[in-house]
């Protein structure tokens, strides 16, 4: 009996040692030379593997960083300037600082503002709905509310507001990785430059229909009336296809355009309550609580931002 045990132990150990030796030589022979800096760089990346840099994962991005000559077009939005600075140190290069950004939803067509014209009953995916239909309201440009963006966000920065049916961006969590920008079939997300205290002023609408039609389908649509365009002292506003757009780089957050908008399509977030707001405007905003107003209450101050 004991000889059997002994034999088993000895033969297994011999087998084990043998395989270890073989494995060792095989590993030596097939070892691929890898730049050790890749590992170093990877360690400094956020390890979110979100694809915000345009690569499949942090490792691929690290490889690309090490291999390329300069940092042109290579930027990790999640880690931001700090991370890029560290990577630059490892690689002995110059990091180009970029302005931090944040995602904003350019649609404010909450259920109250934008009446439904039909009921969508297909698979619950914005991409599927939008491939076949304009949407369940008269506005073919607006949010479909099925949350494809929420599904792709890796940073818990988006959630659906059950009251408005629109996604809400959590500025603190948002890393501007751009996943939602790619996911939204209506192209409603925009990465805008972060301003002080997360202030922003932007046109929350992408409706290119003529004013009357846009207005009929959604109370808070941009009608392309050009009032804001005319009032802006910094030429930050452009008009295209019946739609105003505020360039975050030129916008100085002076808030002149906001009260001009007859449909309240321009949203300001993060500002103190307006000091001398005309009664008319107060009325227009009162009573209806869109996401903009909700967030406005949370934050004391103001002035905002834009994208590039």
């Amino acid at each position: 009996m004991s000889s059997v045990v002994l034999f088993t132990i000895v033969s297994l150990s011999v087998l084990g040692v043998l395989s270890a030796i073989i494995l060792f030589f095989v590993a030596q022979k097939f070892k691929v030379f890898e730049d050790p800096r890749i590992d170093q760089v990877e360690e400094n990346l956020p390890a979110a593997n979100c694809g915000g840099c345009g690569f499949a994962g942090c490792r691929n991005f690290a490889e690309a960083l090490v291999k390329s000559e300069s940092f042109d077009g290579l930027y990790c939005p999640v880690g931001g300037n700090e991370t890029m600075e560290k990577v630059a140190q490892i690689l002995g290069r110059e990091a180009v600082a970029q302005d931090p950004k944040v995602a904003v939803l350019r649609c404010n067509g909450a259920c109250d503002f934008r009446p439904k014209t039909n009921q969508y009953d297909g698979a619950s995916s914005c991409a599927i709905e939008s491939a076949l239909y304009g949407g369940d309201t008269g506005c073919q440009y607006g949010c479909l509310g099925l949350g494809d963006c929420v599904d792709v966000c890796n940073f818990d920065a988006l959630h659906m507001d059950p009251v408005t049916g629109l996604p809400v961006v959590n500025d603190t969590n948002c890393t501007a990785c751009g996943a939602c920008v790619d996911a939204c079939p209506k192209d409603l997300f925009e990465l805008r430059k972060r301003a002080k205290k997360d202030r922003k002023i932007y046109v929350a609408c992408r409706n290119e229909d003529k004013g009357g039609i846009a207005r009929k389908n959604c109370e808070v649509a941009c009608t392309g009336c050009t009032k804001c365009f005319k009032v802006c002292p910094y030429e930050a506003i452009t008009m295209n296809n019946n739609l105003a757009f505020i360039d975050a780089d030129k916008c100085k957050l002076c808030r002149k355009c906001v009260p001009e908008c007859p449909t309240n399509a321009i949203i300001e977030i993060g500002f103190p309550p307006p000091k001398i707001k005309e009664p008319a405007d107060v009325e227009a905003t009162d009573g209806k609580t869109g996401p903009a107003e909700t967030i406005m209450k949370e934050s004391k101050e103001s002035i905002n931002n834009k994208e590039e």
Binding site: T117, D121, G122, A123, I128, Y133, G134, Q140
Partner: protein, 442 residues
């Protein structure tokens, strides 16, 4: 056993409510709105301006490139605007809106209903007439017909297949057309045969239309080379690939066209349109469509001017029922639900189906129980359950390897799934995404 295709397929309740209803002419509407993109391919370019007076049959938009199609005015009147109008998808597309005045036609059109069954045009002349008349596939795919009729160099057609299958439940427009315009269809078939230079034309009709089979068989005795084949009822037999398989047992290769196996398939409606274009010089400005549904008071087949608002058509069939839940342009399997009754009838509208409220809603989605029913019914030999989950996970490379692009979007899988899974919804999304990747590779 009658002929049919080998793999997969389903047989939903037929509900051909309007099967024996005579085709009626719908009165000319007050305004028509004619989308510039009623065909597959590049939208046509308007050749009229706002304010222009047009006559019925007059060219109003010219085809742009080879895969495109001419569009003619179906009415006489005045162009009131050229602007974006919502189409069946709810997206706004460019369209020409004409206000009807009087009933003036361009002179060349022969409006006499008599049959002309002889012709001696050359192939080039016929092709030119078809091209000019703006004929597209009338079965619903709306592929410009002249493209199909231009055989690529190095290929040869040996059969012309005429599709009289009409396998979609509810729809009866082709059936009615075969009964009433049988001879015209056969002449159209002779014309198509000549263009393609083939000796044999096969007309496939499912056996749920015995009268049409009998009628066309009798008429076809006079027309050499045309044979009528009864087929077993099975959806999606009206799909080109399935019909070819059923009739001549050839399989169009993956990514290929019918001409790769020596055939060209045209719908009976297209054959009729070809007859009118060649023998009567009449461009494609009207079509036959079915208006049907269980609660519609008069399920009917109408001949309708292109551009007529769908609301007019429904009105003529007794109006929109109280319990309407869904309005579908086309058949219940492949048609499109629409949300706006002002959308116009287009060249590809084969029917309007009204589903009552309870039927309009999908049922609750359950987890996939891997029963393999979807695989068994897929006529293309795909694995819908797998395609759906790959599409949800964005695994495009595997999707492509699993032949997602072969899916003909027949919907048999979604129809069959006991768990009510939206298989085709996700497969379609996968096709869109994989299609983009394939195109970007070129």
């Amino acid at each position: 056993m009658l002929k049919t295709f080998a793999k997969g397929g389903i047989h939903p309740p037929e509900n051909k409510l309007s099967a024996h209803v005579t085709i009626l002419d719908l009165p000319v509407p007050k305004t028509v709105s004619i989308p510039l993109s009623q065909h597959l391919g590049v939208p046509a370019v308007p050749v009229v301006d706002k304010g222009d007076a047009v006559k019925a049959g007059q060219l109003i938009a010219k085809s742009e490139g080879f895969v495109s199609s001419n569009i003619h005015s179906p009415v006489s009147g005045k162009v009131v605007k050229i602007d974006k109008v919502p189409d069946t998808s709810g997206y706004k597309k460019n369209a020409i809106v004409i206000e009807v005045e009087g009933d003036e036609w361009i002179e060349t059109v022969d409006r006499n209903g008599d049959l002309i069954n002889t012709f001696d045009y050359s192939r080039e002349e016929i092709l030119k007439k078809i091209l000019e008349a703006g004929i597209v596939g009338m079965g619903g795919a709306t592929f410009p017909s002249h493209v199909k009729l231009t055989i690529p160099r190095g290929k040869k057609a040996n059969y012309l297949i005429i599709n009289g299958v009409e396998c979609e439940p509810y729809l009866t427009a082709d059936h009615a057309l075969m009964m009433q315009k049988g001879e015209e269809i056969l002449v159209g078939t002779m014309i198509l045969k000549k263009v393609l230079d083939v000796d044999k034309a096969l007309i496939g009709i499912e056996r749920n239309k015995p009268d049409a089979i009998e009628h066309l068989t009798r008429l076809s005795e006079k027309y050499p080379g045309i044979e009528v084949y009864p087929l077993q009822e099975k959806y999606p037999q009206g799909g080109e690939k399935q019909l070819i398989k059923a009739l001549i047992n050839r399989e169009v290769p993956s990514g290929g066209l019918p001409i790769d196996v020596g055939t060209v398939v045209h719908n009976v409606g297209t054959a009729f349109a070809v007859y009118e274009a060649v023998q009567k010089n009449k461009p494609l400005i009207e079509r036959v469509l079915t208006v049907t549904g269980k609660s519609i008071s008069k399920p009917s087949n109408f001949r309708v001017k292109i551009g007529t608002p769908i609301s007019d058509v429904i009105e003529a069939a007794g109006g929109l029922p109280e319990d309407t839940g869904k309005i579908i342009s086309g058949g219940p399997m492949m048609g499109k639900a629409i949300n706006d009754l002002s959308v116009p009838v287009t060249k590809g509208s084969s029917g309007i189906l009204i589903l009552p409220e309870p039927e309009a809603k999908r049922k609750k989605i359950d987890p996939c129980i891997r029963c393999s029913r979807c695989i068994n019914v897929c006529p293309m030999g795909l694995e819908p359950y797998l395609l759906m989950s790959l599409s949800q996970k964005n695994l495009f490379e595997r999707l492509e390897n699993e032949k997602v692009m072969d899916c003909i979007e027949c919907g048999s899988c979604s129809y069959t799934c006991p768990s009510n899974r939206p298989l085709l919804d996700y497969i379609r999304l996968g096709k869109v995404n994989v299609g983009k990747i394939i195109r970007s590779r070129k």
